[in-house]
Amino acid sequence: MSDVLARVQAEMAAAAPDAALSHGVLVLPVAPAQLLEVVKRLKTGFGFDLFLDVTAVDWPGAPLRFEVVYHFYSTRDFVRVRVKTRVAEQDPTVDSLVPLYNSARFMERECHDMYGIVFRGNADLRPILLYEGFVGHPLRKDYPKRKEQPLVPYREGGS
């Protein structure tokens, strides 16, 4: 493990006791309440200045159904960390990272489109890849595979 990641792991031991290295990426599972604080520390204290992505994983049947996954990169030390947090289906809400990274504005919209995660503090969660009027969240495991929501009525018959 690189020096930086070892220092991150040591410092985050309280917030992320289960931190581990996975294929060269330090994985930090944290509670939703601590997310903003941990990410802020990563950005200001360790130079993780590039917010790469936010996505989610759907675990149907698990008590905390959605795992929200963030990736950060340090352009100073060339290392990555992955931060994970879990939320329940009834209230899939996490804090928005917009105060820390402006690019979160768009990436959180996509995650909201696809999984229905609500980002508290992101004022603009309009559809970005989907369209107005689309019902449901297509990357959730319970979205029917062949369910389509056409915007244009189909022609009779075919060509």
Partner: protein, 172 residues
């Protein structure tokens, strides 16, 4: 005294009266003209675009079939080439472009995605453009080889040559 310069005499021959008229059918004549002046509107959305570039530029050159001058206004074009995946989000745009084209107009579904949705069978992709607009020629392949596209253009040309070309339409 200098000799007068030699000039070449201009001979005004009487024009021949042979082959001054030909007889043909109106539909054949117009069909022949139209099939060699297809102005395509490339509606290019996905990876098939690479093959579209290959087929429309030098080595294959759709200009040999009179179909190389892309018009980026639907009002000036005759052939809507739908090249690539059409998503449900894009479908209204495609329909609008089709409706803006003036008659006569033809539609080509270029590649598996435009023909049937290809391997995309999910919430996002339209299962073939013929769900929303009529299609005249389908080109198979993912992406199609340039030869396949040229074959498609030639089949469309044959179809145009055999079509009726009314000069006065009902609305006119």
């Amino acid at each position: 005294m200098t000799a007068p310069a030699k000039t070449i005499p201009i001979v005004r021959a009487e024009p021949s009266r042979a082959f001054e008229f030909i007889s043909t059918k109106k539909d054949e004549l117009i069909g022949w003209a139209r099939k060699f002046s297809l102005f395509p509107y490339p509606f290019v959305t996905a990876c098939c675009a690479m093959e579209f570039m290959a087929v429309s530029s030098t080595p294959y050159d759709t200009d040999r079939f009179g179909a190389a001058l892309p018009r980026f206004s639907p009002r000036q074009s005759d052939l809507l080439m739908v090249v690539g995946t059409i998503t449900h989000k894009q479908a209204p745009v495609l329909l609008k472009v089709y409706e803006q084209m003036c008659e006569p107009k033809w539609v080509m579904a270029f590649g598996a995605c435009a023909t049937s949705g290809g391997f995309y069978q999910n919430y996002a992709a339209l299962d073939g453009i013929d769900k929303i607009i009529p299609v005249d020629v389908y080109i198979p392949g993912c992406p199609p080889r340039p030869e396949t596209v040229i074959d498609g253009i030639m089949q469309l040309q044959e179809r145009i040559a055999r079509q009726q070309h009314p000069i006065l339409t009902k609305e006119f």
